[in-house]
Symmetry: C2
Subunit: 564 residues, 2 copies
């Protein structure tokens, strides 16, 4: 098998697959206590504050410029326990799996839970000069799909694994980003001049508090009709999905890697303010298997639906391009434009305009901690459901139906023994016993099939939420860092690091960030209530049907026995 | 704890419990191929036939007398595989557990399946001279009760364990029967003069073939009202059950040991012709625990019901004594008389009078082999149900409800996280999710309790049948031995071992034995059809209720979610 590859000098060519060594850069060493996200930001500001802990050289590569371009927030994120910033505040009783999870120390391919998505490189950089981007294909990522829950790793992995595998993909391994840049919220907080433009994102005061501006009709997209395509004279083949937005009702075609490109753009642009859930797993093996394609399509649909539901994302230029591009040329031009967008990372807050009075720092801090506590608790709750659901799935598809089958077989075997008795008037009993035995075999079938009908949805929804919740530590980390910055305001003024005006601007901008966080939390809550209501209803409805079907089958089996 | 014990010289006295060593005599060594019951009988007749294999001295202790008194058929039974006589004929496909069961080689207390009930001693002999029999108490047997199925040994044990433990009980260990006697069917076949008396047992030709004479109204007994009694100034306490027969409606009291005495009498008298199922386990530990007493009573009730249903047993003098004795004196006199009954063992066939023409040997042999095959197959089928049921019981009372409980807790936990969101309009969802969680906890409870309501009856019935079927190899072995004897007729006549008239008598008596076997098989079949019909109906009825209850609970849980 030949693969398109690029060497460290940027030269591209076909090389045997075996020659390619995919390496992962995981820069976190959790064996020593690692500073929390908030602390990292603080150390980034060590030139402001002599009391800050000494920072490592790598942590000091801060680009203090308003026009830093595509600086990914995620690079500032650090390691093992994204919730550690709020550990002291986290709701008592719930254990923090992540803090004590030694898996985080692993590097390389086999790391089961490469969380969080560290070291996202500069996305523009991974297209070699002149290299047709279409040629960077899915095959680069050799993470295996988890498929159903029964086969997936234990609760800890799941959605985060998807996000994680994504983050540690080939793009990094090619090592084309010599200077990883990172930034804290100061980029926005202390920016001299904010970009004003059409991208204005208003935040209103609604009944529940700050809310985004919602469109009158919600965009909806259908992902359907997966088709196999090929190029390079059949050497490379791929699956193309049809995406049809409710606005134009005109389908556009997208490969998984296009979704991935969109994800990267959204993460880069909105990730500081809005949790952007990861896409479903990449995978090479069995990538064209019907079951896998169906599952991926279902998950891409879920992802698109969630994106469509978000007023900020669905109305963004890049998202609109994705769902409504007119032709190849339109798509290519749009892509290039999106990749050149400079209002990314924390700078997205510069486009947000809350229509409400500024909040004081105490209120900002309280909100931030409240959301952190909640998302942490919910993350625990969701993981518990996934773990329990995973166990239940295994039992329902493994030992339980096997047992019902054995019960059915035992009844039928005894029935056929009875048939051999030679005693007259045996058949009424043996017919009924055989029927009862067959009924238990049918029940075995029902039991084994049921999880795909109900538990599946509970698992998918919670998996989605696990992915979403996994984004919050970053989002909240940015806010926490901003708060720390504002708190240092007086000290910085006294040391003549910033002006009094800078300090006032910082506080005002932290207030804007807080409004954005509140709007996002309110969006999250209303979606959460809708999603859980829906999935619980669906689950219970199917469960009722399941038990009723079994009862009815048994009632029929019972009626075959003669009353005496 | 002091115990009444008797030493080898027959002296009785109170000794510390720890001093008593209960030893078991298991004389079978299955490491070397053991002769089947049929062969044993053949070797017992080695003085008739020079071609017979050399027999061990113990096997030669044949008492060739018509009035041998209480000679237990069971002593002739031998070890490991009671079905081996028909192995070649046994239905293909079903594995013969017993033939390859190495457990049979074990001796001592821990032998898990002491089958068959070997070496039943002479029942009269175990009452020391002058020793009040009431003082030989249950405590002598230290076999533990199996209680529910969940705690019992794997499928192999169960009912046979009861019978087995019974057989290897203290009575043997005291070693008071220096000369174990044993006999084959020749005792009856060649007996010069048959006892004629009121005990005449007619066999009629019914629709299904030979049948016992059934009474117009069937005797029924209620075992109820267990009461704790004590004697020896409170040193010894016991449980007394009230037995009320439907004929007199006058309750009589019996301790477990009285049931045991009755069992011994019935086994001794009818065991060659009628399978007498063992009583439920004896046990010392926790013997007064409510649950145990309830279970034992239920099983004694089951045993009594089965005995009542049998026309030969229920009308026998000893059984009538047991259920209708008038006072202590009546009981004691009746006991003594029963123990002196000489028409026991194979001699019971001498009281049977088939009202049909004699059968030829081929027909006798065919019937015998048919019943052997059937009982062997059914034994396999019943054991399969017990094994599967045991597994199912464990799952339903162990991991399954635990899982439902965890599902319930996970829903409730997530619900309480949601409650902490601070978002308005949360309560509709959280109330519903809490209710759903509680519903799954209730389901956990239902699942755990269900086996006692339905599977319990399936297990009890099959356990009873396992016990019954375990008696057939002996019964059938006697017939097989008789057939072998008749086959040797010409040879024996030629060798002047028997007369021509003896040969004719033997054939006629073998025919009588065959009628008895057929009557018993027809009784067995009709009871079996009734029992399995009943227990399957009961099981399915409860299963329907179970699934309907769950469906209804889930329907209620579902209705609490708001429709959107």
């Amino acid at each position: 098998n030949m693969q398109l590859a690029q060497n460290s000098r940027g030269e591209v060519g076909l090389v045997p697959e075996d020659y390619i060594e995919v390496s992962y850069i995981v820069s976190v060493d959790v064996k020593t206590p690692t500073p929390s996200l908030g602390n990292v930001a603080a150390s980034d500001l060590s030139f402001f504050d002599a009391y800050a802990p000494a920072s490592t050289p790598a942590q000091n590569q801060v680009m203090h410029s308003c026009n830093a371009g595509s600086v990914s927030l995620l690079q500032a994120t650090n390691g093992n326990d994204p919730w550690s910033a709020w550990n002291a505040d986290s709701s008592g009783g719930s254990t923090n799996n992540w803090a004590s999870n030694p898996e985080g120390t692993q590097t390389g391919k086999s790391a089961p839970d490469p969380w969080p998505p560290v070291s996202h490189g500069h996305p523009q950089a991974y297209q070699g000069p002149g290299a047709e981007d279409d040629e960077w294909d899915d095959e680069w990522d050799d993470m295996k799909s988890t498929g159903g829950y029964a086969e997936s790793e234990a609760g800890e992995s799941g959605a985060l694994q998807r996000g994680g595998s994504h983050a540690t993909s080939m793009k990094i391994s090619l090592n084309k980003f010599p200077g990883f840049s990172k930034s804290g919220p100061e980029l926005y907080l202390l920016c001299k001049q904010l970009v004003k433009g059409k991208d204005r994102l208003p935040i209103y005061m609604g009944e529940v508090g700050p809310v985004w501006s919602y469109p009158e009709t919600q965009l909806d997209c259908v992902v359907a009709d997966p088709k196999k395509g090929s190029k390079m004279y059949g050497l490379k083949s791929y699956i193309e999905y049809q995406v049809t937005p409710s606005t134009t009702n005109r389908p556009v075609n997208h490969r998984y890697k296009h979704f991935d490109w969109l994800y990267e753009r959204l993460l880069e642009k909105f990730g500081s303010a809005i949790p952007i859930p990861s896409l479903p797993d990449k995978q090479v093996t069995g990538r064209f298997e019907e079951e896998f394609i169906k599952m991926r399509m279902e998950r891409l649909q879920g992802w698109m639906t969630r994106m469509c539901r978000h007023p900020v994302i669905s109305s963004s230029e890049v998202f609109q391009l994705f769902v409504t591009y007119k032709d190849e040329k339109d798509w290519k031009m749009g892509k290039r434009k999106a990749e050149k967008d400079e209002t990314v990372g924390v700078m997205v807050f510069s486009t947000m305009e809350p229509e409400a009075p500024d909040l004081d720092l105490i209120e900002v801090e309280q909100k931030c901690e409240q959301f952190s506590r909640f998302t942490k608790s919910m993350d625990d709750g969701v993981k518990e459901i996934l773990t329990v659901g995973h166990e239940h799935w295994k039992r329902c598809t493994g030992p339980l139906p096997k047992e019902y089958q054995r019960i059915g077989k035992a009844f039928q075997n005894l029935s056929s023994v009875f048939t051999s008795s030679g005693y007259q008037g045996e058949s009424a009993l043996t017919d009924a016993m055989t029927a009862a035995g067959k009924t238990y075999e049918e029940i075995a079938q029902l039991v084994a099939e049921q999880p795909r009908k109900d538990l599946h949805h509970v698992m998918e929804t919670n998996n989605e939420y696990k992915g979403l919740l996994g984004c919050f530590p970053d989002t909240i980390g940015v806010h926490k860092a901003a708060i720390d910055k504002v708190k240092e305001g007086d000290k910085l003024v006294a040391a003549s690091k910033i002006t009094q005006q800078d300090k006032v601007t910082m506080a005002k901008r932290a207030s804007t960030m807080s409004y954005a966080l509140q709007a996002e939390m309110n969006h999250f809550h209303s979606n959460r209530i809708y999603d859980y209501n829906r999935v619980m209803q669906l689950y219970l409805e199917e469960q009722v049907k399941f038990y009723e079907t079994i009862a009815e089958k048994l009632r029929q089996a019972h009626s075959q026995f003669t009353t005496m």
